[in-house]
Symmetry: C2
């Protein structure tokens, strides 16, 4: 058996007994795992190197593809589409250009992998599923952060590495992806992986337990751009009917998702079935405040009203959470001025100092993805005669929220949502097993 | 003709010629309006008093009524409903209690009005329409702020007074309503109105112009809890079909709404028709960042990405805008600490001082409803390698936003929404004619 096959065998199958030749060492692996070095540890000598035999490359849908699909239904020609976009102030040629850049970068990745003798399966995001995850030794996300979130959403194995490559660095932030230089020199990244010039990174993720009467455990895929109404209503009806029959409280159920960025809980649209005629009716709750009770780290319950609760991981602390909590220069300037005045000081604050404070404050909102803790934030808390909010933000290892909402849901990584209506109880926690394995190149 | 009838005649019909006896004065009103004192001015001697002959009282739907309606469709008995709510942790008797309180307060209002010989039409919010607005000399909103917003939404006449009464002060903030003491002593409020012991207040509102290709001018009523899918899709289909036919840019159209609180622009749910089969498909955009271009006071256009833009009036500056911009004690404390450290100061800030700064900052977000200006706020601006935001907040008399969103809308007062997709251009401004007439009791 070649070194590579043995390595893969150990990585993928974790067999009962195997012989591993590692540099000059020979190990015999037995069920008690005597003497086999954990291939996923970061030792002081560096890693042995990572050489997957089978890699799935999952690609995003570009804006161009989306627009083409959208208008194809209406029977418009490409020329019509171009005109229509122009009238809206969009440039069709611009979309084509971005699409072309993305496609070239994907080809570059695939070619680089194949040159190394790696078997590659190239899949569009719509085709990506659990079978592909099982098949692959590693998965490459070719797109932006959204594509990384999608790829991660189907990976439940903490030993299945996921690598993100930003295929449009000019348009995409890509903070879950490799540094942008590797986009155009992916062979360099591959070599580093093979030579062990990298570090494994486990990004902690959150799990959710849901319990209560009449809860609906059916996830709604928010990226399913074309989910038909019937499918959604049907899923809802089934759940409502069964809850009527049992009449019992059920749960807690562990939901089949792991949040890489965050779990967001708040009022939103929902569809509800009319029990008599099964005619769907809609409640639009574009901006209805969310009403709920919250307990942090098994602390006292607090009734709150806000625009929702965000519970994020270290990974997610750079994402939506950051935008919720970030302060603008303007706000920092006002606070410092008022603080000075109140303290009777006559300090002149120059622009640079205010910028420094703003930067320091905003950086304090971000934490390490490898820390097994979460940050909860109450978004736009409503504080008045009726409601209050003791802490707007804080670190936590456990958050419980009881819905008092008419039409709310829990949204995981902006991609999957679960109904979260009046009476449902959600618990958000971390568990080591849920971590996502990624790489950090040196 | 009695004094009252003359007074009303002048108020309502603005006749060509009329005789008005005002205290000891007699006026002759002619088309050039010589000598008739404007009954809606606040003079230094106080007002002549307001004595409407016909008043419409518009009531809210209580949570109890909503739940009863909701479950009636499923054939549940009241006992079943009680049990179901209990299992969800809600108290049916609690809902009944709030409903009872509201109902008693409404009866109190209606009785007080009728005792004064005023003709009263009591209408539920679902029955409220333009005909009632035309009929009434004044409209009383009996509910909370939401009911006031609904009542205001159908009043386009700047001389049609609207008075809000908070029918559940313990549960409702009611900042658009009269002070809570008048809820249980409405005759006192009536007397003050009749004796002129009050001030007229014109709350400025915003208007919206919409233009662009394929725009949809059909408002969606967000409070129509049971709007059927077919109605919504149909409205959308009509608009899409006509835009395909004309292929021309249309507008600017003045939308048939006036924002008393705010206009919010951002990504949200929308339904889109499938052109081939007319099967509705749904894009859920619960948290997709909004992408648009914005120009304030005819200034330079800026591409932005955020959770939306809020343009509010003085009235609205106490509402959602406030919650978007408000700072928590925690944030103010952190900023002041960092500012001190950076300036090399060793100030200890006590809790009271931080609270004061927090309060002062948050109060600076609110301004007078009678000022003809708006406050724009960018909600959770995304600032990264790709996007920037020069000013997060500021006063303005004109805001233009061009949508670059896939599925966005403009929401007026949380009650009416308009599609606002890629290429559409919205202009938000103020016009004196749009003000809403309310009262401030002394």
């Amino acid at each position: 058996m070649t070194y590579r096959k043995l390595f893969n065998y150990v990585c993928v199958a974790r067999p009962a007994v195997s012989v591993l030749k590692w540099k000059d060492n020979v190990f015999l692996s037995v069920p008690l795992v005597l003497g086999v070095r954990n291939v996923f540890t970061n030792s002081s000598e560096g890693n042995a190197g990572f050489k997957p035999a089978k890699v799935a490359v999952v690609t995003k849908t570009t804006r161009c593809e989306f627009e083409q699909q959208r208008y194809r239904y209406s029977g418009l020609s490409e020329q019509d589409l171009k005109q229509l976009l122009a009238m809206k102030g969009s440039s069709y040629s611009g979309l084509l250009e971005r699409h072309s850049i993305h496609t070239k970068n994907v080809e570059h990745i695939v070619d680089s992998l194949r040159k190394e003798g790696i078997e590659v399966r190239l899949v569009k995001r719509g085709e990506y599923n659990e079978e592909i995850v099982q098949w692959a030794d590693a998965i490459v996300s070719a797109g932006g952060d959204g594509t990384m979130l999608l790829v991660a959403s189907k990976v439940m194995d903490r030993f299945k590495p996921v690598v993100g490559v930003n295929t449009d660095p000019e348009r995409s932030e890509g903070h879950l992806c490799l540094p942008v230089r590797y986009t155009s020199s992916f062979p360099e990244a591959l070599q580093k992986l093979q030579r062990g010039e990298f570090r494994w990174q486990w990004r902690h993720r959150s799990r959710i337990y849901l319990e209560g009467t009449g809860i609906n455990l059916t996830p709604v895929d928010l990226h399913e751009q074309q989910m038909s109404l019937e499918q959604h209503s049907k899923a809802h009806r089934i759940s409502m009917n069964s809850s009527h029959k049992s009449g019992e409280t059920s749960g807690p159920h562990l939901l089949p998702v792991r949040a890489l960025n965050e779990v967001f809980i708040g009022e939103s649209l929902s569809s509800r079935a009319n029990y008599k005629s099964y005619k769907p009716r809609f409640t639009f709750s574009l901006h209805r405040a969310s009403y709920y009770e919250i307990s942090v780290d098994d602390g006292p319950w607090e009734k709150q009203k806000s625009s929702g609760v965000n519970v994020c991981t270290g990974t997610g602390s750079k994402a939506w959470s950051c935008n919720i909590n970030k302060l603008a220069f303007q706000a920092v300037e006002d606070v410092l001025k008022m603080g000075n005045k109140l303290a009777g000081l006559n300090l002149t604050l120059d622009k640079e100092q205010i910028e420094k404070v703003t930067e320091e404050y905003n950086e304090s909102l971000v934490f390490n993805p490898e820390e097994p803790k979460m940050l909860f934030s109450v978004r736009e808390p409503i504080v008045n005669r009726v409601f209050s909010s003791s802490r707007q933000r804080g670190f936590t290892t456990k958050v419980c929220v009881r819905s008092r909402c008419w039409d709310a849901c829990m949204v995981v990584d902006g991609g999957t949502s679960f109904e979260f209506n009046d009476g449902a109880l959600a618990t958000v926690q971390m568990n080591e097993d849920d971590a996502l394995l990624t790489v950090v190149l040196e």
